[in-house]
Amino acid sequence: MSFNVLASTLGTMAPAEGFPPTPEIFWQPLFSVAGVSITRAMVVAAISVVGIAWWLVATTQRAAVVPSKGQFFTEGVYGFVRNGIAKDMIGSKDFLRFVPLLFSLFIFILVNNLFGIVPFIQMPTMSRIGFPIALVLVVYVVYHGIGIKKHGLAGYFKFLVPGGLPGWIVPFIFVLEFITFFITRPLTLALRLFGNMFAGHMLLVVFIVGGWELFLADSFFLKLAALPAWVLAFAFTLFEGLVQFLQAYVFTLLAASYIGGALADEH
């Protein structure tokens, strides 16, 4: 109510096309081939794969004992995943065979997330739910696969329940653990990445488009209010960079911890 009074005293605002922003802004088909739409997110993902491949080949092709700057940087990122995530979470016995998977996941998610704040691209791929689901499917198959391989199919289900419990409580714990392992874990893993990228992108759109709407309003004071909106948009872009890195880290960390949990001998 009071907002209407405020608006009428400050001047009228004509809502323009695409304002306020809705989740539809994430559906951006560029062109379609044989009825399949190629969206902006798909193009960004393809660019990221090419970019990552070029980066890794270029910096490791002539690997030397005394590394060049590029090789040093790549080794730093690799070492971060290898020692900071895989070794800590899986344990020093059999972490090494999962490092390639975790490293690929980490840099793929990181580069795709960072595209959300790269000027002129500004599309976090993972804000389309299909991409996180595909990545989580890989992790899901891997951690159940190695768990079943290690404990056997019946042993894996027995392994879900921690030992030393009174008999009557075992069925309840089994149901709880079963839901955790097979439903909650993949669901949260996919939704966390998706939700963060989606919400972050929406936030930036609200501040930038909202600032533009304020700027277009026919009142001097509303035009003035556009400035703090854009300053906040800039601040949130920096904040998004932090969140994007953190989410890539968290996804890899959780994937490693699920793998480590499936490989553990005892609960």
Partner: protein, 66 residues
């Protein structure tokens, strides 16, 4: 004023995870302040706890759109 009441509900729902994330990092900072060399050990644990608490807020966001 127009709008959707579930938006307000989601805003209220984020308070819980927000407090949880605050508590987790408060505990992390306390731990590191008492014993600086434990920082490296505690960091993945803190971030893991943060991610799990934050998942609840993300659930709320998804449910809002359902």
């Amino acid at each position: 004023m127009e709008g959707n009441l579930s938006l307000v509900g989601y805003g209220l729902a984020t308070i819980g995870p927000a407090i949880a994330v605050g508590l987790i990092f408060a505990a992390y900072i306390n731990g590191v302040a008492r014993q600086p060399e434990s920082g490296k050990l505690l960091q993945p644990i803190a971030i893991l706890g943060f991610a799990l608490a934050e998942a609840l807020a993300i659930f709320g966001l998804v449910l809002f759109f359902l």
